[in-house]
Subunit: 334 residues, 2 copies
């Protein structure tokens, strides 16, 4: 397989470091690796396969001879530098929200819509973390029963908001346990031992942008532009691993046993559904693993053809870095 | 107002202590106070209004001349001792699940169904914590728009499971922060920095008893025996304060502004709904307060006449001790 020159933009962030880890774990065919970040991280050393790489400054010239540019440095950086990288000849896979709803950019979860990819595209968008795990679980069930409506509530980990958020949860938790005063910088309110129904900014209609992303991105990935989706996104004091409580209403009957069988064979899904033995997914279990873990599959008797599911996945892996690298793998496979 | 002899069963537990605190705060007309518990707590001293009370052993003889017996020592103790206390002439208000679905016992939230109470009843059941806060918010909206279906996901605090659970969250959190091994005794899996979709036992149909309680108790309190309710109950690493993500579908149109106005005047409800200013309820805010706090009221466009709400309340207060004392107040008012 032809080896690739890979650039990682935002290399020192939580997703950036996960990119590097997963490229190594999966033995991605790398010719050269360029780690890019803003001025304050320049010179930091990061290990990749026994070799040390120095972090370089992200500049317009950074993408010369790069085959794949993996971006995770926020929507602002992506809006500025993705087109530059694409212009320089790289295939850009962008983890920010900048291009997700751009009709020229495919929004791809390889288990769900690999057909949306082709080698001509210069910028490919990686979906929102919670959306990825939801569609990986929902799509195979949709194929069997046709989803009529989704009601989802999330339990999202702080690492989705970056390094400083992880640090704030640690610092605040220590302070609370020692009856000390906490300080609040990254989150609008205390996050330690709390739950905040507030991820990303509020839109005028009362939804957060995170909730709007879950609706719009799900529709685009599943190619169901009118799919009814109601999302409530909540930050919980978990370091890594997003959980979602997923309520699905189908057009056609879909028994619990059938749903289990479908999910046990679905790509990317790991079934963990023996509640009597206390087997169901949790974020502490999912963190550091690659699967979309599904459990608590139950009939919802409050509606015709309803199912409830509990879906957990590592937001930095399948929810971000892993999905992006799977997109790259899909492209070099062709 | 005639002063009452009050017995508290389970006086050293988290709800028991909250009973004592709230009786004092509200200046409940107390003639005598008897604190009852199992052998291991006998002799413990608890302060009430500048006076020290010694915890006594719970025995069949404990209820002589007691007017109100407030129980919070688990369903087993309630099944054994509530009938004894009632037989001795006390009005029993039971916080356990033992009598909630008993057709002879009213299940009461004073803001919702005070008419279910009368002075002849000997055993009155206090509903499940999550159910109480849900019906306090849902009932006034039901009166305006007629609820057709409820889909609810909870974010429940550990204090709902008692003192040992609170201790386990503290101990595990410290251990995780210091990279030490954790031990798991009270919860089936790690609760620190995690989320467990498992509260109470699993029923054969895949629901937990907590989820079944939310369905059945809501129907009984709201006197809607066929109301479609789907519940997913999740334990989160929060000490006190349950949150629920509440999706309501109505028969009739109910605009967000109308819902806000109704809830701003509803008994027991405190509206906290200015998301643009980061005003919405959180458990850390609700803990120690009496209200059922409602925010994030939004239209749900995925269904006709849909609304989403975020409802938070102190599970030891309105979810347990406060509601029980409000029932007693309602009875002595008559």
């Amino acid at each position: 397989m032809k080896k690739q020159n890979v650039a990682i933009v935002g290399a020192t962030g939580v997703v950036g470091r996960t990119f590097i880890q997963i490229l190594e774990e999966r033995d991605f065919p790398i010719a050269g690796l360029r780690l890019l970040a803003s001025q304050k991280s320049v010179g930091q050393k990061i290990q990749f396969k026994q070799q040390e790489f120095a972090v370089e400054l992200l500049e317009p010239q950074s993408f010369k001879e790069i085959d794949f540019a993996l971006f995770s440095a926020g929507a602002g950086v992506s809006r500025e530098f993705c087109p530059i990288a694409a212009e320089a000849g790289a295939t850009v896979i962008d983890n920010s929200s900048a291009f997700r709803m751009d009709e020229n950019a495919p929004l791809v979860v390889p288990e769900v819509n690999p057909h949306a990819l082709n080698r001509q595209q210069r910028i490919i968008a990686n979906p929102n973390c919670s959306t990825i795990q939801m569609v990986v679980a929902a799509k195979p069930l949709h194929d069997a029963g046709t989803i009529k409506r989704i009601v989802v509530s999330t339990y999202q980990a702080v690492s989705g908001k970056g390094k400083d958020a992880v640090e704030e949860l640690k610092t605040q938790s220590s302070a609370v346990l020692q009856n000390q005063k906490i300080s609040t910088d990254v989150f609008p309110h205390q996050i330690a031992f709390n739950a905040l129904p507030h991820i990303d900014k509020f839109h005028a209609d009362g939804n957060t942008l995170e909730e709007i992303k879950m609706v719009n991105e799900t529709r685009k990935i599943m190619e169901l532009p009118n799919l009814p989706v109601s999302a409530t996104c909540v930050r919980v004091p978990v370091f890594t691993g997003h959980s979602i409580s997923l309520n699905l209403q189908f057009e056609k009957p879909l028994e619990v046993e059938k749903a289990r069988q479908i999910l046990s064979e679905a790509p990317g899904v790991v079934l963990m559904d023996h509640p009597q033995d206390e087997v169901y997914p949790t974020p502490a279990f999912a963190a550091g693993r690659d699967g979309v873990f599904v459990g608590r599959i139950r009939r919802d008797d409050s509606v015709e053809h309803g199912l409830n599911l509990w879906v957990v996945s590592d937001n930095l892996r399948k929810g971000a870095a892993l999905n992006a690298i799977q997109i790259a793998e899909e492209l070099i496979k062709e």
